[in-house]
Amino acid sequence: MHIITTTVGSYPRPEWFREYLKRMEGLQKELDVEVDRDVLRKAVREVIDRQKKAGIELVTDGQLIWHDFLATIASRIDGFYVDGLVRYFDNNLYYRIPVIKERIRRRGQILYDFKIAYEIESNIKAVLSLFTVLKLSRNIYYKSFEDSLWDLCDVLKSEIAELIDLGVKYIQFDEPSLLYADEKELKILEDVYKELTNFEAETILMTYFRSAKSIFPYVLDFGFDVIGLDFVEGFDENLDVLREYGLENVNVGIVDGRNTKMEGIDELKMRFEKIADATELKKVYISPNTGLEFLPDVKAYEKMKLVSRFKKVIT
C-alpha cells in the first residue's frame, strides 16, 4: 500500500493577501479585478510552502482567488454571467450564482492561477469541476441539461489538453453535486467523463459533504484512476462502497476540514483500520475530507500536520 498525503483544494488566504484583495476589489459583488500576477505568485508560493512544511506531499494551489468556490470555474468561461448570492451546500458560505445565458464556450485559459502555482511546484494537482459547476448554476439557455454538459465538457477537454502539454501529472475533478445526481444523469455522465479522463495523467474524482454510495456502480465507468471519498461525513456508507466494489486507489478524506476540533491519532487510526480491512488498497491518498478554507488559517495548518502525523502512524 502506497500512502501519500494531500489536500483537497482550497486553503485560507494569507492574511496580507486577504487584505490586499479587500483593498483592490472591495466587499461588494463586483469582484474579479485583475490581480497583479506577482502578488498572486507570492501568495500562492506561501500557501504551497505552508502545505509542504506541514508534510503534505501532493499539494494544491489553494484556489486563492476563487471567490465563488467551484462556481469560479464558470466565471472564466463564456456563456456564464454572475448573479446574486446563494448558499454553498450546507455551509455558512455564499457564492455568486452563475447564470447560463448563452452557449458555453472556451474564453481562454481557465486555471491561469494554477499555472502560476505549477511554475513554483510541479508536483501539484490541477482542480476542475464539470457536473457541479452546472448544478451550481442557473440555466436559462439550454433546453436540455445534456447539451450543456457536452459543451462544458468540450471546454474542459481543451483545458486539460493544455495542462497536459505543460506537463501536469494530476487532474482532479471536485464533484460534490454528483452525490445528488439521479440515475439518468449518471448514465449520461459515463460518456462525458470518459472524454475527460482519457489523458496521460492521473485523474482523481473528489467527492465530499456526504457519502458517495449513490454514484456507484456508475462511477466505476467514468474512467477515473482514483476516487475520493468523504470518511468524515459518510463513513459507514463509504465503507460499504469499499467493500462492495473493492476499490484499490482511493483518496481517503479522514480529517474533518470543516471543524476546528482536532481528531485524536488513535481515533483516526481506528477508522483507517476499518477502511484498510474493507478492501485491498494499493494507492491511498490521505487528506482532510474537504478544502481547508472553511477553517481559520492556524487550524487549517494544524489539520495538515495531523494528516502527515497520521501517515507516520499507519506506515
Partner: protein, 317 residues
C-alpha cells in the same frame, strides 16, 4: 403602527479612526469608551431627527453579530477569520467548553441609551440558534445541545435586561431560514431564551427561503416576526397571506443593499400592502436589516423617507 430599526447604523468615520488607533495602542480605554458614547449620542440624534419611534444605539460597539457575543460568553474561543463570501470574512467562534454566562452583553448599552433618550428602546441580540450555526462546535456532541446551552445563557441576559428596564427585545436569527430542517431546534431554543422574560419579543430574520419555514415559524413563542421584504420586491407578503399570519409584523420596507433612496410614495405603497396582511396596531415599519453597510448620509435619508411614509399612511387611515 410604529416605526423602528433592525439594529445597526453606520459608524461615524471619526469613530472608525479612533477604533483603529485604539487597536494600535495609541488611545487608552477611557478615551475609547468616551468615543463610543459620543458616537451613540450622534446616532441617537440621527434617529430622533428622522423621527423613528423605537430605536437602538446603532450597535456602535459591535463589529459584527456573532463574535461580539461569543467573546463575552465562557466556552467560546476565536482562532481567526473565515470567509462568508467574496472578500467578506468574520471571526468565527469555536465552542471549546461548556457555555456559561460570564458578563453582560447589552445591559450597559441599554442603560446608557435609557439615560440619553426618551424614545422607546428595542434591544437586539443575536439568537442562540444563529450564533451556534455560525460557530465551530468542538465541545457538545450535537448542535442541538450547543444551541440549548447557549439559549440558557441568553435567557439569563434577557431576564437581567428586563430587570434593568428593557421592554422590547429582538432576537436576531438570520440562520433559521437557512436550515428549515432544524426549525424544531430553533423553536425549542426560543422557548428557552424567552422563559420568564417579561418583555415584548421580536424575531428578525433575513437570508434564506421564508416559504420553507412556514407555517412552523408561526408557532414560535415570540410576539413579532420581522422579515426583509424590500430586497425581495415584497413578493413574500403572499406567504404571510396564505398562512393567516397572526403575529405582529416587523415589516422591512427599505432595501439596505442599495444606495438608492426610496421615494416616499413607493414606501407608502409597500406599507399599504402590509396593511392588507395585518391591522395597523400590529405593524412595525422598519428597514430590511441593519443599515451599517450604507454611507451614513444615505442611511439617514432612508430613515427619514421611511418615517414620512409611515406617518402619511397613518394619517390616511
Amino acid at each position: 403602527m410604529k416605526t423602528t430599526v433592525v439594529g445597526s447604523y453606520p459608524k461615524p468615520k471619526w469613530l472608525l479612526r479612533i477604533i483603529k488607533m485604539y487597536k494600535e495602542g495609541k488611545i487608552d480605554e477611557k478615551t475609547m469608551d468616551e468615543a463610543y458614547k459620543d458616537a451613540v449620542r450622534a446616532v441617537v440624534k440621527d434617529h430622533e431627527i428622522a423621527g423613528v419611534d423605537i430605536i437602538w444605539d446603532g450597535e456602535m460597539r459591535r463589529e459584527e453579530m456573532t463574535s461580539y457575543f461569543a467573546e463575552r460568553i465562557n466556552g467560546f474561543v476565536i482562532y481567526g477569520e473565515v470567509r462568508v463570501w467574496g472578500n467578506n470574512y468574520y471571526p468565527k467562534p469555536a465552542i471549546v467548553d461548556e457555555l456559561r454566562y460570564r458578563d453582560e452583553l447589552a445591559i450597559n448599552d441599554f442603560k446608557f441609551l435609557r439615560e440619553i433618550t426618551d424614545r422607546e428602546i428595542k434591544v437586539p441580540i443575536t439568537g442562540a440558534y444563529t450564533i451556534v450555526d455560525w460557530s465551530f462546535n468542538e465541545y457538545y456532541s450535537t448542535k442541538e445541545e450547543a444551541v440549548y446551552a447557549l439559549a440558557e445563557v441568553l435567557n439569563r441576559e434577557f431576564r437581567e435586561l428586563v430587570k434593568a428596564g428593557a421592554k422590547y427585545i429582538q432576537l436576531d436569527e438570520p440562520a433559521i431560514p437557512t436550515h428549515p430542517d432544524e426549525i424544531e431546534i430553533a423553536k425549542n431554543a426560543v422557548e428557552i431564551m424567552v422563559k420568564g422574560v417579561r418583555a415584548y419579543i421580536g424575531m428578525h430574520m433575513c437570508y434564506g427561503n421564508y416559504r420553507s419555514i412556514f407555517p412552523e415559524i408561526l408557532d414560535f413563542k415570540v410576539d413579532q416576526l420581522d422579515f426583509e421584504f424590500a430586497n425581495r420586491n415584497f413578493e413574500d407578503l403572499k406567504i404571510l397571506k396564505e398562512y393567516d399570519f397572526d403575529k405582529d409584523l416587523g415589516f422591512g420596507c427599505i432595501d439596505v443593499h442599495t444606495r438608492r433612496i426610496e421615494t416616499v410614495e413607493e414606501v407608502k405603497n409597500a406599507i399599504r400592502m402590509a396593511l392588507d396582511v395585518v391591522e395597523p396596531k400590529r405593524l412595525y415599519v422598519d428597514p430590511d436589516c441593519g443599515l451599517k453597510l450604507l454611507p451614513r448620509d444615505i442611511a439617514f435619508e432612508k430613515l427619514k423617507v421611511m418615517v414620512r411614509a409611515a406617518r402619511e399612511v397613518k394619517d390616511e387611515l
